[in-house]
Structure formats: C-alpha cells, structure tokens
Symmetry: C2
Subunit: 126 residues, 2 copies
C-alpha cells in the first residue's frame, strides 16, 4: 500500500519574531548551501529521520535534541545535529541550557525545491 504522504507544499513558517530569538549557531548562508553536502547529511538514516520528524511534527516549533527520543549517547547526537547544521539543514539556537532545532524550510525550498518533500515521504526500513 505505502500510503504516500502528500507533503509537496510546505506551509512556510509564519515568520516568527526572529529578532527576539537567540542568535543561531554558525551555519552556511542560503547562498553557501551545497547540494552535495545536503545530500551527504541526509544519506544517514538517523539524520534523515531527524529532519523528517522535525518537518512532520514541528514545522513551527523548535525542539531540543532529547525531544526526538533517540536511543543514542549524547555525544553521538551532538555529532549528528552538528552535521545537519553544518550542511545547512537545520538551524540551532541556544535557549538557556538547551539547544533547539528547526529545519531551514525557506532556505532549502528556495535553493532545492522539492527536496524536503522527498524527506517527508521517506520511511525507515521495516
């Protein structure tokens, strides 16, 4: 059956008050995004799962690393989230002691239209 999630047109996040948020951690600018790097970051099942979960369950809200419920040591999670940020897939902000993540939907749709729809349709191996 393979119920395909129809996630073609992402509602762009309703322009939150960016000015009031903590500064994002260092990340490539929209123009610096490289398709090879983005694809490499997404080629790991854990990471594409993270991006997919963020897309489907929280386009408008940021989430901490632990929100994902991943059964990995903290140092492994740091590695994967940093990989995603350095490739330009997610934006990370420091909220007090914790760090929150969101997908860079606007930037990615602008540079690589349709890519996030593929991520949203992805399913892990059974």
């Amino acid at each position: 059956m393979s119920a395909q999630v129809s996630a073609r047109d992402f509602p762009l996040p309703p322009a939150p008050p960016e000015a009031e948020l903590p500064e994002p951690l260092p990340e490539p600018s929209r123009d610096e995004l490289r398709l090879e790097a983005v694809l490499a970051a997404l080629s790991d099942p854990l990471r594409i799962g993270i991006v997919r979960k963020l897309l489907l369950e929280s386009v408008e809200h940021d989430h901490t690393c632990t929100w994902f419920g991943l059964d990995r040591p903290k140092s492994s999670l740091t590695h994967h989230f940093r990989t995603l940020r350095e490739a330009g897939l997610i934006r990370q902000r420091q909220y007090g002691p914790s760090r929150r993540n969101r997908v860079r939907v606007e930037d990615l749709e602008d540079r690589f239209p349709g890519l996030l729809a593929l991520v949203a349709d992805w399913t892990p191996v059974e």
Copy 2:
C-alpha cells in the same frame, strides 16, 4: 545571476525497444530503491556530475564511461559507475566490449519525484 536550468519535467524516454537491448547488469528494482542510498551515491561531486551530464546531454542515448572525459584512472571510474548502478541511479548494459550507461529516469521520477530536477540544476564548485 545563477541561470537556473528549468528541468522540472523530464520528457520520459520514448520507450526504446528494450527487448532488443543487452540485459542490464544487476541493479535494484524500482521497489528496492532506497532514498538514503540514492542520496549517498549523489553526495560525491564526481558522481552527481556524471548523472547530471547523462541527464542533460543524453536522456535518450546510452554512453560509455570514457564518453564523459573524466580525468581519472579506469579503476576509479569502474568504482563510481558501479556505485551509481548499485544505488539504482543508472542502468548499465554490455554492448560488446564496452558498457553503456543511462539514467533510470522513469524509476527515479516515480519513486523520488523532483530529485532529478535538483541534479540537473546542480553546478560544480567554481
């Protein structure tokens, strides 16, 4: 400026007489294609360049590995073309002594719609 190649809708190849062609080398079936594997294969600049060139310059014709004019040893090319075939991006057929490649446009558009458009728009680092 970045003149974006508008390559959204690929003309599906006009159904060549598949029966008369040599058998394809072993490859994953359409249902076996995995997005992670496809993205991993495309995350190498040399390989995404190969797929892009095949897409833009020869959708309807197969090409040998040497046609690409890549300045690498033969054994390296064998490695990259096999990687692309095993990920399901290209189909390879043996024509006498040489081996010819084409992109699996139909299968990829069916499973991962829009992905090939991103590949066609890709440009190498200057």
